[in-house]
């Protein structure tokens, strides 16, 4: 009998618990001190504390996680994304403990884990790569080489991912500061401040290919995801399929991704990230994420393939059931990442207790979330607290559905990026599908939609509440009795002030 330990937290731990439960496997959660009441702890069959809030003392502690695996009798460990997901030593330690690591072999993590190394492997495998340096550089080398590649240039952390340790530099005089910041962030995030330089391909889209391989050498791809809507190099929303990818291009990119995976002996789920040139034809390999991706649900929604269940089966040595020719892309899916950040105030992180929560549902809507009413969003972990995913018959259908789902979504107590997504769904550039990785940061600001007269509605609301506030104050001075104001208290479900 299998038992699955999930070495993660948040929505992805919940996602993996759901998949395991649907396969009939008991689940084991791990949690830090601040996560005792987290949703993944509540939903798992077993749960064990692995240390204090900082990840370095809990979710990154290989020893403690393996200890829990031993105590609980877990047979498999799924790392999710982030934390130890792309840590070769962890994958190896899991295998050494006689357990199944739900992910690729350590050798593939190693081969793809360093961007410089993976670049060389891809060049050898005939997969196209972005022009740039291909080695870890000293500060002097960075300063000397950058002007030759030409500005804008990207400083990237070899061990990096998700935009951490990455800096765009537009002018030579900014190079030194940016380099220091990138190294500091890389050192902090990955314990490794090695960096390299890369040409910034402008007008480019970020398009990635999902691959799935088994331990018997079969590798297929599940098509692309469009990830160009980014802010500070963090993806904000994703689509499947990409509005920029034709069936012919999908086939070429898919073949490149499969070749990349095979070149490093890959199995399990993985994602090859590509830059797609503004010409819509050329693409360049950026990196391979050797793990489950945040945005995997859009692919699941249009292909009908449950990627997490496949990962679990593959880890047990099962053969891939889906053949490349069976993969079909039906309809269109969009994912909005819901971050605990304030879009009206420079996307500052927002922490605190969720005082009210209403998630959208109904046809074609999926929410992968770690929230519940009463849950405390802490400052220790990633600000992404939920994902809203919809599927429609086609892209316009999906956009309309996303609009209605976003309109239904209520999260009170913390600020979230829901309003950002509501604006994006109304923007011509998004609706048309013509956007690149620079759109969100360079051409978008949170502004009100004009002409809806909502300022008047806001004035009415605030005045009614102020009036009630005042009346309450007056009432406190008046003798207690069957006063009209008493009936208009602030109790839930009560009419206000009228």
């Amino acid at each position: 009998m299998q038992k699955v330990l999930i070495a993660n937290r948040g929505e992805i731990a919940v996602r993996i618990i759901r998949a395991a439960q649907e396969l009939g496997y008991p689940t084991v959660a791990v949690f830090s001190d601040v996560d005792r009441a987290a949703l993944h702890v509540r939903l798992a069959d077993e749960a064990y504390n692995i240390g204090p809030a900082p990840a370095s003392e809990s979710y990154l502690r290989i020893d403690r996680i393996l200890d829990v695996a031993k105590r609980s009798g877990a047979t498999m460990i799924h790392p999710g994304y982030g934390f130890l997901a792309e840590n070769q030593a962890f994958a190896q330690a899991v295998a050494d403990a006689g357990l199944s690591f739900v992910g690729p072999p350590p050798s593939a993590i190693y081969a793809m884990g360093d961007k410089v190394r993976s670049r060389q492997a891809m060049i050898a495998a005939g997969v196209p790569v972005v022009p740039g340096t291909s080695e870890g550089l000293t500060d002097e080398q960075v300063l000397a080489t950058a002007p030759g590649i030409g500005f804008p240039v990207l400083i990237k952390a070899s061990a990096g991912g998700g935009g951490k340790g990455m800096r765009r530099v537009d002018r030579a005089e900014d190079l030194q500061d940016a380099l220091a910041a990138a190294r500091r962030e890389a050192q902090k995030s990955f314990g490794d401040d090695t960096v390299y330089l890369e040409k910034l391909v402008e007008g480019a889209r970020h398009v990635e290919i999902q691959v799935l391989g088994d331990q018997h050498g079969h590798v297929i791809h599940l098509g692309e995801r469009e990830c160009s809507m980014q802010r500070r190099h963090q993806k904000v929303l994703e689509e499947c399929p990409s509005p920029a990818v034709t069936p012919e291009l999908r086939e070429r990119m898919g073949a490149a991704a499969v070749a990349a995976a095979k070149a490093v002996g890959y199995y399990s789920a993985g994602t090859c990230e590509f830059l797609l040139d503004g010409n819509g034809h050329d693409f360049y390999f950026l990196e391979m994420n050797t793990r489950l991706q945040v945005e995997h649900p859009v692919t699941e929604f249009v292909t009908g393939v449950d990627i997490v269940k496949h990962m679990l089966r593959i880890a047990l040595g099962r053969k891939l059931r889906v053949k490349q020719e069976d993969v079909e892309w039906v309809g269109h899916a969009i994912e909005c990442r819901i971050n605990a950040e304030d879009p009206y105030n420079h996307f500052l992180p927002s922490t605190g207790r969720v005082t009210s929560l209403q998630e959208p549902s109904g046809p074609g809507v999926r929410v992968d979330s770690a929230l519940y009413e009463g849950f405390d969003v802490s400052l220790y972990y990633d600000p992404m607290v939920a994902k809203l995913i919809v599927r429609g018959q086609n892209r316009p259908d999906a956009i309309l559905r996303m609009r209605r789902a976003l309109a239904e979504y209520r999260i009170a107590g913390i600020r979230t990026t829901i309003p950002l997504h509501q604006r994006l769904m109304d923007m011509t550039q998004f609706i048309s599908g013509f956007y690149d990785t620079s759109y969100l940061e360079q051409h978008f600001t949170m502004t009100h939609v004009e002409g809806r007269g909502f300022d008047r509605i806001a004035a009415i609301t605030a005045t009614l509440l102020a009036h009630q506030h005042r009346s309450d104050a007056i009432n406190r001075l008046a003798p207690v009795g069957d006063s009209e104001w008493k009936r208009f208290g602030r109790r839930q479900g009560m009419r206000v002030s009228l």
Binding site: L348, Y381, A407, P419, I457, T461, A462, A466, Q492, R495
Partner: protein, 192 residues
């Protein structure tokens, strides 16, 4: 009972008199406001049009979110306005700007020291939260009067981190920092 409500520099005059009715800038409207969760969520019907609202009250201002649009509303009568003006003067005694922590976090770097002259928009500190570095910037030109933080320190939301005095002695009227800017405090820009 007459109120004046200011929404993003636009003024509305509202008369609350009979239950279920309101006169907005001379126009009669039927209104029905219900609390949904006893806290932030409300349902409002205005002449039959349905709005599902998120409302927060902070320092006397109402923040109303309608379909993702966020509005800050200042409601008051003459007396209230005066009180607010008084509280603003209190703020301004602190100097050019009071830079508060916009969220809980860890101080990574402090970029200024007392006595430094600082330009508007100049970074003054780097605060880390949720694994991201956030640059805090100085909102208006001035002289650093006070620095309350050191690297490695954990701060709570709204802690006063740095106080900046105006560069020259100015009259209160010419100090052009808006009250909103002081309240929200030093909106930091993303690190480039």
């Amino acid at each position: 009972m007459k109120y004046k409500a200011t929404v993003d520099q636009r003024d509305f005059t509202l008369d609350v008199d009979r239950p279920g009715e309101l006169i907005v800038d001379g126009e009669n409207v039927s209104v029905d406001l219900m609390s949904i969760d006893g806290e932030n969520l409300y349902s409002l019907l205005v002449d039959g049009v349905s709005y599902d609202l998120h409302v927060e009250r902070r320092e006397g201002l109402y923040t109303v979110i309608i379909e993702g649009d966020r509005y800050t509303v200042d409601v008051g009568d003459a007396h209230l306005k005066e009180l607010i003006a008084m509280s603003r003067r209190g703020h301004e005694e602190h100097g050019g700007a009071v830079i508060k922590a916009p969220m809980p976090g860890l101080v990574v770097k402090v970029l200024v020291a007392p006595g430094d002259a600082v330009a508007a928009d100049q970074p003054v500190a780097i605060l880390e939260a949720m694994k991201m570095e956030n640059e805090l910037r100085n909102p208006a030109v001035g002289i650093v009067k006070q620095v309350n933080i050191v690297p490695g320190q954990t701060v709570n939301m709204d802690d006063v981190l740095i106080v900046v005095a105006p560069p020259e002695v100015e009259t209160v009227d010419s100090a052009s920092t808006s009250p909103a800017a002081v309240d929200v405090a030093a909106p930091p820009e993303p690190a480039s």
